[in-house]
Structures are given as structure tokens and as C-alpha cells.
């Protein structure tokens, strides 16, 4: 049996409010300090700290003594004004397989507030890098986190857990991509540089929109966003002139009247030569005359349509949970096999060391009877013979580890049989 265990102590968006999460959130430099602080306490041999908007979690490896977790809670309170880590209602502790499973779920986006969101894998990688730089990881957490990255990649490539847009602004851009194949050849006009409008503009920019015009009642705001996104700011009185030129119009204002009227669009249609026009209305009350959707080359979609897309995509992601869970179970098994192999590593090393010492001693004793050339041949021969003799016992020991605790008597018997107590390197 391993003398250590893996624990995770944490809180997340499911257990704690944003105020409570704020109390324990730590910056990367603070994580670095805490990692050193926790390791220097002497209780924990390995530590990794993960802190994002939605979670703060500490992964530790240490003795099988749950009481030590209280020490960890106390150590972490150094950065916690509200004694949050001692509150069992909002924090959770998981150990061994549960802790491994939790990390795999986190890395694959299964535990995220927005199911399958992709940023978390990068955040887990950053957390691990911080810990390796602080020299607070070892064999166990190195392997555990590498396995978690592997799980994250597998879930992303083998399931649809990350597929489809799951925010209104990204759904608007996904919809634009269902009409136009390549946004880098298209132009867009954003009416209203508020929060939703800005997010949509950023998504369009991330898809390399060719030209982006931005207009807002407060011109300074339009100008600032245009500068940041490499677009063009238009005075609010003049934006109607661009309706005939652009391919996509996004309107997200608080205007009580239509910002894009049927008359304004119909007037420019003859000059557009049947070029499709996509109008996205992200405002309540609506900004774009819905009657325009009746025109052949004009597509109008409003906030309800975008919410429908988001909900359907979330449903599709939820359908993928069992597949993702299956991948996680496979990887837990493979990690557990690796952990078990660690249990017999010391005895295999001891066995090898004892036989090697015996072989060398016997060779040295008889060295005078052989020439240099003969002695080298003899060295190779005895080494090969020893490996062959030890092959079966070593295989049996590895099998004992894989087959579970009942088989571990075989390991104890091997210690007695070969008298390995003095060769134990643990």
C-alpha cells in the first residue's frame, strides 16, 4: 500500500458565492508564495494551486492523515480575511481516486460554469507551470497533471463537449458564419458599443472580419472601441449611409425606435445587387424591423433566436457528458495502474540491487582465474543470467500490484524470502 495520498481542498462556483470566492482567490505571485509556505510546513511533499474566477483549489500529496488538512486550511488562511477555508459548507475535500477524478473533470470542462468551456485547460496548465517553477511538484503530481492535460485534450477531440457557441455574442458570429463562409472578406457595422455589442464586435474581430464600423450615441465610446479593434468610428447621425455597403449589421442599443428600418434597407437594396445582408438584433426593445426578414437576401435574427442557438448547443454539450465521463474513467484506471506500480517499485529495486551485489562480489572473488577478455565475457554472461532468473519474480510482483491489496501478501513474502530488509531504499 502507498504510504501517501492525494488530496484536493477547494471551493468553486457550485459551493461558494462570488464574494466567498473573492476572499480566497490568489494571484500567481501569491500562489508562488503559498506553494513554498505549504511545502515548507513539512506535511506535504507536493503542492499545486489553481485559482480562477470560478474556483480556488489546492492539490497536495502527503501522509494518509486527514487531520493534516486542518493544518492546510490554517496555512491557506494567510490570504483569507473571512476564514473561508475553515467553513466546511462551502469548501470540499476529496482524496485519492475522487481527487484524481475531480481534476480530470476540471481539466475537461465538465466542472465549469459554462459546460465544456475551453479556457480552463490552459488555466490548469498555468497552475502546474507555477508549481513546477516553485519546485513544489514531484513524481505523483507531475504524472497526475500530465494525465489531466491528456484527458482535457481527449475530451476536446473525441467529444462535442466544446462544440457550438454558448454565449449570445458568439452565437451571433456563429450565425454569421452560416451565411458567409469567410468573414475575412466581409464588412460589419456595429450600432451601439455597449457590453453585448462590444463582445460581439470582439468575436467578429477574432474571426478576422475585414472591415468593422462602430457607431454609438456617445461618439468617444465608439472611437475608443474602434481604435482598440482596428475599426472605424462613425458619428451616430451618419451610420445609415453604411447600410448599403456592409454585409453584417449588429444593433445593440437602448433605442425605443428601430435603428434599422425597413425603408432604410429597401432604399439601398437595388444597389446591393442581391448581395446577402445579415442583421443581428441584440436589443430589447428590438432595434431592427422584423419585417425585413421577409426579403429574400436579408436575414434578420433577434435575441430570442440567439438564445435558441445557445440553448440547443448547451443541450448538445450535455448529451456528450456520458462520453466524456467514459474517457475520464479510462484515464483514472490508467493512472491507478501507474500508482499501483509505484507500490512495488522499492522491492523490485531492492531485489535487483541485492542480486547485483552478490553477482559482483562473486565475480571479484574469482577475478584472478580469468584473463581481462574472459572476465568481460563472464561479466556479460552473469548479468544476462541474473536478469533471466529475476524476470519471473519481478513480473509476479508487478502483477501483484495490479491485482490489488489481497495480492500484496506476495510482496511481503518476497521481502522475507529474499531477505531484502537491508536493501530497502525507502
Amino acid at each position: 500500500m502507498n504510504a501517501f495520498d492525494i488530496y484536493v481542498l477547494g471551493l468553486n462556483h457550485k459551493t461558494a458565492s462570488v464574494e466567498q470566492r473573492e476572499c480566497v482567490a490568489v494571484t500567481p505571485p501569491e500562489i508562488g508564495q503559498l506553494l513554498q509556505f505549504i511545502k515548507s510546513s513539512g506535511h506535504w511533499t507536493e503542492v499545486v494551486g489553481l485559482s480562477t474566477c470560478n474556483r480556488t483549489e489546492w492539490y497536495v500529496v502527503g501522509p494518509k492523515n486527514p487531520a493534516l488538512l486542518n493544518c492546510l486550511r490554517s496555512l491557506l488562511n494567510i490570504h483569507d480575511r473571512a476564514d473561508t477555508w475553515h467553513n466546511p459548507e462551502i469548501t470540499y475535500v476529496m482524496k485519492h481516486t475522487d481527487a484524481v477524478k475531480h481534476l480530470f473533470q476540471v481539466a475537461s470542462g465538465l466542472d465549469s460554469q459554462i459546460l465544456g468551456e475551453p479556457q480552463i485547460l490552459g488555466q490548469v496548465k498555468d497552475a502546474f507551470t507555477l508549481a513546477t517553477e516553485a519546485n513544489t511538484t514531484g513524481t505523483i503530481l507531475n504524472n497526475l497533471f500530465q494525465s489531466a492535460f491528456h484527458v482535457g485534450k481527449r475530451v476536446r477531440s473525441e467529444t462535442e463537449l466544446g462544440a457550438g457557441a454558448v454565449s449570445v455574442s458568439s452565437a451571433a458570429v456563429e450565425l454569421a458564419n452560416k451565411i458567409f463562409s469567410d468573414l475575412s472578406k466581409r464588412s460589419a457595422l456595429l450600432i451601439g458599443a455597449g457590453e453585448t455589442g462590444e463582445l460581439t464586435a470582439r468575436h467578429l474581430k477574432s474571426r478576422d472580419i475585414n472591415t468593422l464600423y462602430i457607431t454609438n450615441r456617445t461618439f468617444d465610446k465608439a472611437e475608443a472601441l474602434a481604435e482598440e479593434l482596428d475599426g472605424y468610428a462613425l458619428p451616430y447621425d451618419n451610420y445609415a449611409q453604411k447600410i448599403g455597403d456592409v454585409d453584417i449589421i449588429i444593433s445593440a442599443t437602448n433605442s425605443p425606435e428601430f435603428t434599422v428600418t425597413a425603408d432604410a434597407v429597401k432604399k439601398v437594396l437595388p444597389n446591393r445587387h442581391h448581395r446577402p445582408l445579415f442583421l443581428i438584433d441584440i436589443a430589447v426593445p428590438r432595434d431592427i424591423d422584423p419585417q425585413l426578414n421577409k426579403l429574400d437576401n436579408v436575414f434578420v435574427n433577434d435575441i430570442d433566436d440567439l438564445n435558441t442557438i445557445v440553448n440547443k448547443n448547451l443541450d448538445l454539450r450535455r448529451d456528450e457528458i456520458p462520453v466524456a465521463e467514459g474517457i475520464i474513467e479510462e484515464e483514472i484506471d490508467s493512472f491507478a495502474d501507474w500508482l499501483k506500480s509505484l507500490e512495488v517499485k522499492p522491492i523490485i529495486a531492492s531485489l535487483h540491487r541485492k542480486f547485483e551485489e552478490l553477482r559482483r562480489a562473486e565475480l571479484e572473488k574469482n577475478r584472478k582465474y580469468f584473463s581481462e577478455e574472459e572476465w568481460e565475457d563472464l561479466d556479460k554472461f552473469t548479468s544476462s543470467l541474473m536478469k533471466k532468473f529475476l524476470h519471473t519474480p519481478m513480473m509476479q510482483l508487478r502483477a501483484a500490484a495490479q491485482n490489488g491489496n489481497g495480492q500484496m501478501k506476495r510482496v511481503e513474502a518476497a521481502y522475507e524470502l529474499f531477505d531484502l530488509r537491508n536493501y530497502n531504499d525507502q
Binding site: E158, E160, G164, L175, N177, K178, I179, F180, S181, D182, H273, H274, R275, P276, N293, D296, N297, F299, N301, D304, D305, T308, I309, K312, L316
Partner: protein, 270 residues
């Protein structure tokens, strides 16, 4: 050859079912089988056409069932090319379903022709039928992409966002593929009509225009000419072009089925 005549439609039906599973469920285990099953069936189909050509001593274009099996094969080749350009396999279900329909129709009705009319052995006739088959296959593909365009168009317009929204490529891509296939179809039909009229002049010593199939071919040619003109000159896009392609395809289907089974004219050679 009889065994291959059974294997080919079964292969296309199996491929169509696999493409349908892929379309509706995105099953990754199925995706890896799509191309092998499809290409495997195409190879068997090629072997079948070769055997048929050798054993009947004529290229299999002398009867409607023979034309259908060659059209299914040509569609397969054209679709393989399109799939490699689009790099998406979600439109395959529709093409494979049509190919399976054509091939099944052909396999059920095909029979050995004891004697072939000597006028059909002219090389000019070979090029004429070859161009006609490529033209009809392109038009079938064009109509399919037109249909897919309309499915996605109404899905977005009606805010349904169904499986078509999730799985089909953009309207712009579907419109491009529709127009490309329509242009190819128009070009091949033009060649077919020119060579056909030259050949009838040589074989029958007169121009024949009062044949039902020729009339329908001319109408189809005119429709696709209008499609290309509307697209290139008037800048039409999307919905209207899609409806035009479907109309053109419908006239071909009428030409192939109704005319061949209910009318007797020189285009029915046996």
C-alpha cells in the same frame, strides 16, 4: 456480373446509411468508415461497368437503366471531388441517397441487350453520351446543393436552427457548389446537344428536333443557361438559383423516366 449488380446498390445504401448516422449523431466511430465504404463501392462499381462493357461489347449507355448506373458512378466521382474541396462529410448523406436510388432503380430494371443498333457504335455517339452523362450528373449534384441551400435558408429564416443548421456548411459554400455544378452541367449539355445534332445529321441525314427527349434537353439547357446568366450577369444568389437548379433537375428526371417508358421515339433504341 450479376453478383456485382446486387453488391453495388447494397454498397451505396450502406454508405448512405453510414453518412446519415454521421449527419444526425456525429458518431466518431462511424466517420472513419465513411470514405472506405464509399470508395470501396465505387471501385466495385467501376469493375461492374468494365465487365458489363466487355461482356455486352458496348459502353453501358444504350438503355435507361444503363445510363442510370453510369450517372450514379459519375455522381460518385464528382462528389468525391467535392468532399475533398469542402473537407466536410455532412452533405454526403444526400448525394449517396440519390446515388443509391439511381443504382437500385438500374439494378432492378437492367437487362442484357441482345443486339445493339449499329448507329450507336459511332465514336461521335460515344462522346455525345459521355458528355450527356457528365452533364446530367453535374445537374443532379447542382440540384442537391440547391436543395441543401433551401433547407438551410428556411432553417435560418424560420429560426428553427435544426440539425441542418448544425451540420451543413454555410449558405455561401452551398451556393458556390450549386453554381459550380450548374456551370459544369450547362457546359456538358451544350457539348451533348451540339454533338447530338451533328451525329443525327450524319446518321439520319437530317436534323431531328421533334423528339420529346431532345425538347426536354433543350429546355433544361435553357434553364441552366438562365441560371448561369442570372448568376454571372444579374448577380442573383441563393434562393432563386437553388429553385432554378431543382427545376432543371426535375426536367431531366421527366426526360429519363416518363419519356423513355411512355413515348416511342428515336431516343429509345431497343
Amino acid at each position: 456480373m450479376d453478383v456485382l449488380n446486387i453488391i453495388v446498390p447494397i454498397g451505396y445504401i450502406a454508405a448512405a446509411v453510414l453518412y446519415a448516422i454521421h449527419f444526425f449523431s456525429d458518431e466518431l466511430n462511424v466517420e472513419r468508415w465513411l470514405t472506405p465504404v464509399f470508395i470501396g463501392t465505387l471501385l466495385v462499381h467501376a469493375a461492374y461497368l468494365t465487365l458489363r462493357t466487355v461482356s455486352t461489347a458496348h459502353f453501358p449507355t444504350a438503355s435507361p437503366p444503363e445510363v442510370l448506373t453510369v450517372i450514379a458512378f459519375a455522381m460518385g466521382l464528382i462528389y468525391l471531388w467535392i468532399e475533398s474541396i469542402l473537407a466536410v462529410k455532412t452533405t454526403g448523406m444526400f448525394v449517396l441517397a440519390l446515388m443509391a436510388l439511381f443504382q437500385s432503380w438500374s439494378s432492378l430494371t437492367i437487362s442484357d441487350i441482345a443486339e445493339i443498333n449499329p448507329i450507336l457504335q459511332s465514336p461521335l455517339f460515344g462522346v455525345h453520351t459521355g458528355a450527356a452523362i457528365l452533364g446530367y450528373s453535374s445537374i443532379a449534384i447542382s440540384a442537391l446543393y440547391g436543395l441543401l441551400y433551401l433547407l438551410l435558408f428556411y432553417d435560418i429564416k424560420g429560426s428553427r436552427f435544426s440539425v441542418f443548421y448544425n451540420q451543413l456548411p454555410s449558405l455561401e459554400v452551398l451556393d458556390t457548389m450549386n453554381t459550380k455544378a450548374a456551370s459544369a452541367g450547362f457546359t456538358f449539355l451544350t457539348i451533348t446537344i451540339i454533338l447530338g445534332s451533328i451525329w443525327t445529321r450524319i446518321a439520319f441525314d437530317k436534323f431531328i428536333v421533334l423528339d420529346a427527349k431532345i425538347l426536354i434537353a433543350l429546355i433544361t439547357w435553357a434553364i441552366f443557361g438562365l441560371v448561369i446568366f442570372s448568376k454571372r450577369i444579374l448577380g442573383w444568389s441563393g434562393k432563386r438559383i437553388a429553385y432554378f437548379s431543382l427545376t432543371g433537375f426535375a426536367s431531366i428526371m421527366i426526360s429519363l423516366s416518363v419519356v423513355n417508358y411512355f413515348f416511342t421515339s428515336f431516343h429509345r433504341f431497343h
